[in-house]
Amino acid sequence: MKPKFLIGGAVIALALGYMIWAGVTQSVVYFVTPSELQAAPVAGKAYRLGGLVARGSLKWDPATLNLTFDLSDGKATVAVRHRGTPPDLFDEGRGAVVEGQWAPEGYFRSTHIMAKHSEEYQAPHDTKGTPPKRILKTLDAGER
């Protein structure tokens, strides 16, 4: 191997190393639970917050597209605000992961709610949810 090829290889390796380092430091996202976030919230840091959507906390206003709910891990609760339709598989009493930032005003501003698209459905079969037939029925009744 001639030296110029070795130098070229070293340059590429260094550039790659730098790109990876820069990429990681700029786009790292921290996974936290509600209690971990409540313990030491840092405004402006990127988080993924995972917990259960607390029963009775879900509020959805179609007119303004404002979605608010509480995420809980049993020990602590974090208020979450989101803009947009709640995704499929998202409901009270079910797990959810939201990505976003801690707002200094004391709530979590979510930019993305992660829906669980499982390949083999492992979601617990909670019978408390509204059966689809009943949703269809209410729609039916409204039309008449």
Binding site: L16, W60, E99, G129, K133
Partner: protein
Amino acid sequence: MIPEIGTGILLVALALALYGAVMAALGARRGRQAFVESAQHAALSVFVLLTAGMLLLVYAFLTFDFSVRYVANNTNLGTPFYYRITALWGALEGSIVLWAWMVGLYTLIVILRHRTSARELYPWVLTVMLGVVSFFLLVMTVPAPVFARMSPIPADGRGLNPLLEDSGMITHPVALYLGFTGFTVPFAFALAALVTGRVGDFWITTTRRWTILAWYFLSLGLLIGGWWSYHVLGWGGYWAWDPVENAAFMPWLTATALLHSVMIQERRRMLRLWNVALVILTFSLTLFGTFLTRSGVIASVHAFSQGSIGVFFLAFLALVVLLSLALVAWRWDTLGAQGELDSVVSRESAFLLNNVLLVAATFTVFFGTVFPLLSEAVRDVKVSVGAPFFNQVNVPLFLSLIFLMGVGPLIAWRRASIENLKRNFLWPVVVGVAAAAVLRLLGVGSVLVLVSLGLTVFVSATIAVDLVRATRARRAMGERTLPALGGLIRRHNRRYGGFVVHLAILVVAVGVTGSQTWSVHTETTLKRGEQAELAGYRIRFDGLRESQESNHGKVTGTFTVVNGRAAGTVLEPAKKFYPQEQSPIAYVDYRLGFIDDIYVVLGDFARDGTSATVKLQVNRLVSWIWIGGLVLTLGTLLAVLPEPRRKAA
């Protein structure tokens, strides 16, 4: 009875596969042709048994035999006919069956094609392939028993995951697995070459078509996966740098490197060691991908079942890597290169750099995918790097690769003179820069977009320059333009097949650049009769209706485009309610276009049908990605055509 019969078939197949693997190796070592023939018979029987096992499973699906747990978990009485067949690979256990069957099929083709043409390598190839089949048979009998019995037998099954009731899910796994398993053949030949010490160029030229085919199916699998994600998942994207996607993308990157480095070995007798390493790496990455996605070590938006299967894959992966490395170390002295790199500015260098960049991209994808594991192990902090990381690091690498795509095929071997560079690249550079300038004047602000599209035009121009020049040369010999062009492509089908594949990649690159840059979206709640406006399209909400399908209920919204060329287009996104699912599944509707896709997702709706929340997207140039897939198919077909016999001059 089916569970017992099925398990019996698989166990016999496992015993035969192991027997065949050992006999082929013994036959090779002792020079006993009879042993090899016995192994051959074993391989044929294994394929027949695998086929029988698979058909039995299909039969169980078609007859709703819920005594088979896999059937009960992945279908129910309402599952439509076609999806009952494709439910075969709807989940883990069945996809392992499909995988093993494909390796069995490839073994059969290897027997038919290479039995006499690769006499010394052949028994060892058989050993490796049957060894791989044995592993998958072991997996489907021990950690992921596909014929496990369900008791008590349920009256109805759980049903197929509704997201998989889609044509994309029929074809995507098949293409992907044909790609994954296809790399078993080059891998088997590489090991056979190492074992026998025949590490020359024979094995790699023999497996060239295999590598191309496996690469093609993997590409197709990735593209169909993107299409599925785009039109089923309802987020309007086709690639999310999800671990499962990365798992399939990594072997694609190394296989792409291999396709190029093979040419250097054929032509200049260089890179022997490198090529062996790339084959081993590609095959290992297909196993690693399965381990990653099936073991549950990485939390992904695809939630996967956990179990001992991860341990099996990890152990097999370790075995493959250690065995391969030991063989490489053993043959180290014979793997040296015969050729030498002469100059930095040469075709060899361009190809070498292409390989370095592709492997670097593989490494960054690997790093980003396992980073959460590393971080948790080392610092005990759960972190992740998302799409921004992958984009930031890979976009410069991919742009450099596109640049090399223009340089590599035209630059001179060994040492390119200034004259050669000028002759080949002056016009393409001028055209590329001009294109970027025009786009800038048209208002394109992003440097990245200008570079990407400028490079695309540059590479297209190099292909045009090559074609025009070669056609002219033939015309000078008295041929007419079209016959000259046709003859040229037929005679050098490998070269022009490669060019067509390059064009396909360019078309995909334009699609990716355009959709990332110019797509727009909005979300709004509309009352019946109200309109929403996005990117010049006005879309009216006309109401909701409900219906009952064979296995689900459905609420469908009607939206009509009221202006422009798309006026009158009716889009009917829906929410599907499956009894086995707690929450509804969105059904996207869209109107695909050459430039604009109108893409509508029904969000929430008022139960009386008077209003609905809707996500509207106008996605730009996404269709180019799918068109790229078609071009890719043409290019691959051209590249694998048998080379025409040269007329004796």
